[in-house]
């Protein structure tokens, strides 16, 4: 076919331009395919969960709070299909290897040899007769290696080192950190070593045949267990599949949103470049087109050659983009595994690939067709005249007679004003590219550097100095002592309880002073002041379909009371509800706060605070249990006291004993005495460092994403500029030849060309950054809300981010376009003129 042959000739002739255009289309197609991979996260999660019989609901009990009757209760419930209880160790602290930086998280540690029918663990290549631990497969993506040492360090600096024996697939909690727990599987000996120091708790899992029944079952269970144990704190933690699944998929969804936006942006750039290339190409080749028309080619045949040219390029580059997406899938999957913990098995999806290829080719073909309509309208004579119509009155944009500045500056300005279409195209493309880069930087800043998002998700008050109190501790006295520390600028007292709200299990957070809060923030309304008021998280409000002003019924071990919702906090994940102390006492009269949170002055560290607590109250219960306390080896009673006291505290914790005292009498003399009252402080810890641990993961993930976006943006800029600059040099070859013949140097011409692009580059760069500044975080927030996470709060990006993105684009564009004009250098004046 004539048009097809013409198209092939055009491609061969302008191969560098075709190649550059093909790269843009290839990248766009590659990204479209990556979206499919991201969508597979949910599928992979579901399939893994099915394979390992993942739990529908888990309940973690406080030590010695589990009874077999609980499993029996659940088994008797309609819709419950399976129940499984096992002992686990919960560990909060740091983990690292000799090659990695410490990360802070909390963990479930499970025994590899425990029989479990729910939430099974699939060990990949188990090693027999060896001692050590198995990590979720996501750790492999972080660089953890079999045979390396894995170090656990608790808050008392106690370290445990184990060999990494391998990796495992788990149905949940397999991400490196998914804002709740990480699972680790230990060999029996390791499990016993850790349990002897930290004790065990019972993890109860159950599955249902109808997930809609979950909330009803769990609220009944909460009432039952609280009444059974007469303890509102018998359940430490509980969550259903819908909630911990969303935690995994949240970030996959964020990444999907980003990639979708990115793909669309790149595709728009491709379309603009197609229009630009075609229109410039037509202008450049008017004589050739005129000659073809003189020879008898129809407008349709000539226009079709352009359309075929772009169909061929788009089709081939779409196929290459698809291949590229499969080739880069392992790396991309690694990033997804890192963030979600889900092992994604790459699948081939030829059907979807074909559809994407056809759609992209069709859209580009339509664009090409519309761009060639100009050819149809022109008569042969007009074409051969260079496109000039008979009454072509031009305007002299800048008259040299009256212009100021050097001749190079004036010619630069003339070029800028003359080539409006090119300038507008440049401005639009640079706006899009700058938007993309700024988008990536804002994401990195918003999710990887600033901590507002994480704080809102965690819904915990993050303080450096947290003091957990023994049940009989004198709270007032301890509060006063802590407040007397001049490096503590304020404190709050907080209690952690479990309640049911309108038959939904929730966490109760009871505070003496909401005004001091720094981390937990309200989305709307106010914290409770009166005792019949309550604040709830967005998640709870959404589950209960309640809003500010609505009344809810709160139940604690059979005691009910109504509360008016006065405030909704920003957390989209937690089941937290907030009470004043008097308010909570309406349903639990014996309430006493369990923790004092101290806000430390800047420069005053957690370690210094811990030393201060020691100086006032002696060892904490957890320090006593850690076995790291030094004692006077010459004093036998000192050693004896240490041994007895640590056993006493262990008994108290493991058997939920209220208080104990002892005395050692020898020959009627009391040589030694102590009691649990000697240790009023259970533990001192920092929750602020937990934030840093979570933030590191976000920093890594979003940092990688930002770098990736930066690299792709710079590639796109280079490719786009290579098309535009080369096109311009070709178009203006004769003009450059004339100017060179007059005595303009190559450097003059290169500067003229590059500087003439600069105003539209700067305008586009800053416009793109401003648009990104205004829209990025609201866009992500909207995308996240579509999967049920509403009310995401974030800080506005800094202006420095906006300026950095715009400056990077501008400077890089200038440098690349100047380098690309080096083509002018290689062509002599004679060759420019004679072409």
């Amino acid at each position: 076919m004539i048009s097809f042959r013409l198209a092939l000739t055009n491609i061969k002739r302008k191969h560098s331009g075709a190649f550059s255009f093909a790269i843009i289309v290839m990248i766009a197609v590659c990204f479209f395919n990556m979206i499919i991979s991201t969508g597979e996260v949910n599928k992979s999660f579901e399939s893994q969960s099915k394979k390992l019989n993942g739990t529908d609901y888990y309940i973690l009990f406080a030590p010695n709070m589990y009874y077999d009757d609980f499993a029996t209760f659940l088994e008797s419930k309609e819709h419950v299909t399976g129940v499984n209880a096992e002992d686990v160790i919960t560990f909060s602290g740091e983990y690292y290897t000799p090659d990695t930086n410490p990360s802070t998280t909390s963990m479930f540690i499970q025994n590899i040899n425990t029989e479990r029918s729910i939430s099974k663990i699939d060990i990949i290549n188990p090693q027999e007769n060896k001692s050590g631990i198995y990590l979720p497969i996501a750790f492999q993506a972080l660089g953890y290696k079999i045979g390396s040492s894995f170090i656990l360090k608790d808050s008392t600096e106690q370290e445990y080192t184990y060999e990494i024996l391998g990796f495992c697939n788990v149905s949940e909690f397999g991400a490196v950190s998914n804002l709740s727990q990480v699972r680790i599987v230990a060999t029996t000996d390791v499990f016993h070593e850790l349990s002897s120091n930290y004790g065990t708790k019972t993890l109860l899992n159950f599955t249902v045949d109808d997930y809609k029944a979950i909330h009803y079952i769990e609220s009944q269970f909460t009432d039952y267990s609280s009444a059974y144990t007469s303890n509102t704190q018998c359940i430490e933690q509980a969550s259903g599949r819908a909630d911990f699944t969303t935690a995994f998929t949240l970030f996959a969804s964020i990444i999907s949103s980003i990639i979708i936006a990115f793909s669309v942006v790149i595709f728009i750039v491709a379309l603009i470049m197609a229009i630009y290339r075609i229109k410039s190409g037509i202008d450049e080749n008017l004589t050739a087109i005129g000659t073809l028309k003189v020879l008898g080619y129809t407008s349709k045949q000539i226009a079709s050659s352009y359309v075929f040219e772009y169909i061929i390029i788009s089709f081939i580059s779409s196929i290459l983009g698809t291949i590229l997406s499969y080739a880069s899938a392992p790396l991309y999957h690694k990033i997804l595994i890192l963030i979600t913990g889900v092992l994604i098995k790459g699948t081939v999806h030829i059907g979807i690939d074909i559809i994407i290829t056809l759609i992209i080719t069709l859209l580009i073909a339509i664009t090409a067709y519309l761009s060639t309509l100009k050819v149809k309208k022109m008569h042969v004579a007009v074409i051969l005249r260079g496109g000039l119509l008979s009454h072509n009155i031009k305007k002299n944009t800048v008259e040299l007679e009256h212009a100021k500045g050097s001749i190079n500056q004036i010619l630069c300005l003339k070029h800028l004003l003359m080539y409006k279409r090119q300038n507008i195209s440049t401005c639009i493309i640079l706006t899009i590219i700058s938007f993309t880069l700024c988008f990536g930087l804002i994401l990195f800043e918003g999710f990887g550097i600033k901590d507002t998002f994480i704080k809102n998700v965690l819904d915990s008050e993050l303080t450096e100095g947290n003091v957990t109190l023994d049940t009989h501790a004198d709270i007032e006295q301890i509060s006063n002592i802590i407040s007397s520390n001049k490096n503590v600028h304020k404190i709050i007292r907080i209690g952690f309880e479990g309640v049911t709200v309108n038959n939904t299990s929730c966490n109760a957070r009871i505070l003496d002073n909401f005004e001091n809060l720094e981390t937990i923030s309200l989305a709307e309304g106010s914290f409770p002041i009166n005792d019949n008021e309550i604040a709830v998280s967005i998640h709870v409000a959404s589950l209960l379909h309640k809003d500010i002003g609505d009344v809810i019924t709160v139940n604690s071990i059979g005691v009910k009371a109504d509360y008016i919702i006065t405030g909704i906090t920003s957390s989209t994940m937690s089941y937290n509800t907030y009470f004043s102390e008097d308010g909570y006492k309406r349903i639990y009269a014996a309430y006493a706060p369990s923790t004092i949170c101290a806000y430390l002055d800047k420069g005053y560290t957690y370690e210094q605070f811990a030393d201060f607590i020691f100086s006032k109250f002696g060892y904490t219960q957890s320090e006593l249990l850690s076995g790291k306390i030094s004692y006077d080896t010459d004093d036998k009673y000192s050693a004896m006291k240490h041994l007895i006291d640590s056993k006493m505290i262990k008994l108290k914790q493991n058997f939920n004993i209220d208080s104990m005292e002892y005395a050692l009498n020898i020959d009627g003399n009391t040589v030694l005495s102590s009691g649990t009252s000697t240790y009023p402080i259970k533990e001192v810890y920092s929750t602020a460092s937990l934030l840093a641990g979570y933030l590191n993961i976000f920093k890594l993930a979003f940092g990688l994403l930002a770098i990736f976006i930066l690299i792709i943006t710079l590639i796109i800029i280079t490719v786009v500029l290579s098309i535009m600059v080369k096109q311009t040099v070709n178009t203006k070859k004769l003009e450059f030849g004339i100017l060179k013949s007059l005595g303009f140097t190559t450097k003059d011409l290169r500067k003229q060309l590059t500087f003439s692009l600069l105003p539209s580059v700067i305008a586009g760069a800053f416009l793109g950054s401003v648009i990104a500044y205004q829209t990025t975080l609201p866009f992500i927030s909207k995308m996240i809300s579509l999967i049920g996470w509403s009310g995401i709060r974030y800080e506005l990006p800094s202006v420095i981010t906006l300026i950095s993105a715009a400056m990077t684009v501008t400077v890089f564009t200038y440098i690349v376009s100047y380098l690309l004009t080096s083509k002018i250098k290689r062509i002599s004046t004679y060759e420019l003129i004679e072409n």
Binding site: K394, L400, S741
Partner: protein
Amino acid sequence: MNKSILQAKQLCKTFSSDGQQQHILTNLDIDIYEGDFTIIMGSSGSGKTTLLYALSGMDKPTLGKIIFRGTQIQDLNSDELAGFRKKHCGFVFQSIYLLENMSIMDNVLTAGYLVSNNKPEIIKRAKELFLQVGLREEIWRKFPSQLSGGEKQRAALIRSLINKPAILFADEPTGALNSSSGKDVLDILTKINQNGQSIVMVTHDIKAAIRANRIIYIMDGKICGELHLDKYMETNLDDRIKKIRDFLRENNW
């Protein structure tokens, strides 16, 4: 005899393409004298335009020397050659090559501002030259596409003269013009030569050749013959034409 201002010694120019070589100029020696109107003639492909481009610094010779007022220019780099061209050369093309996107006044001033910062003086000179060549003020701000071929070529001529070049190079300046316009252009060239402007012109046209006082004939990249004439005068043209025809016949024109 006038002083030589531009010399070429053993000039060679070879073009290579797809492994094939074309020797256009072969060991050519030529002198250009101050104040002369030198015409280079020859058949198609003889190397006339190539010689013109080499002498004017628009192209680099493959071998040989080009000396302008004692300075060798063949080894100058691209930017140095640009400097040489803007200060010492003016060029008029057969295809005229005005910049289409600016008025003819701007075309002239583009060349002028490149050499001098004294804009008022350049503008004044441009206006004088426009009037000298018969271009009225009404058309100074018109674009090349709005003018006839003769008007365009006269504008191009002004552009080449704005910086008072030592030598004006012209490549078939009347080739694309009708006879009336062509005569106008030749009249201008003759007049400026009579005022002392050195001109080197390539042409096929005998009507152009008669304006010269020196005609060089090139064949196969070498100079085959040279004819010296008196300065052009409108009288006694038949004798002039006969001498030129005889010269060309001798050289197998």
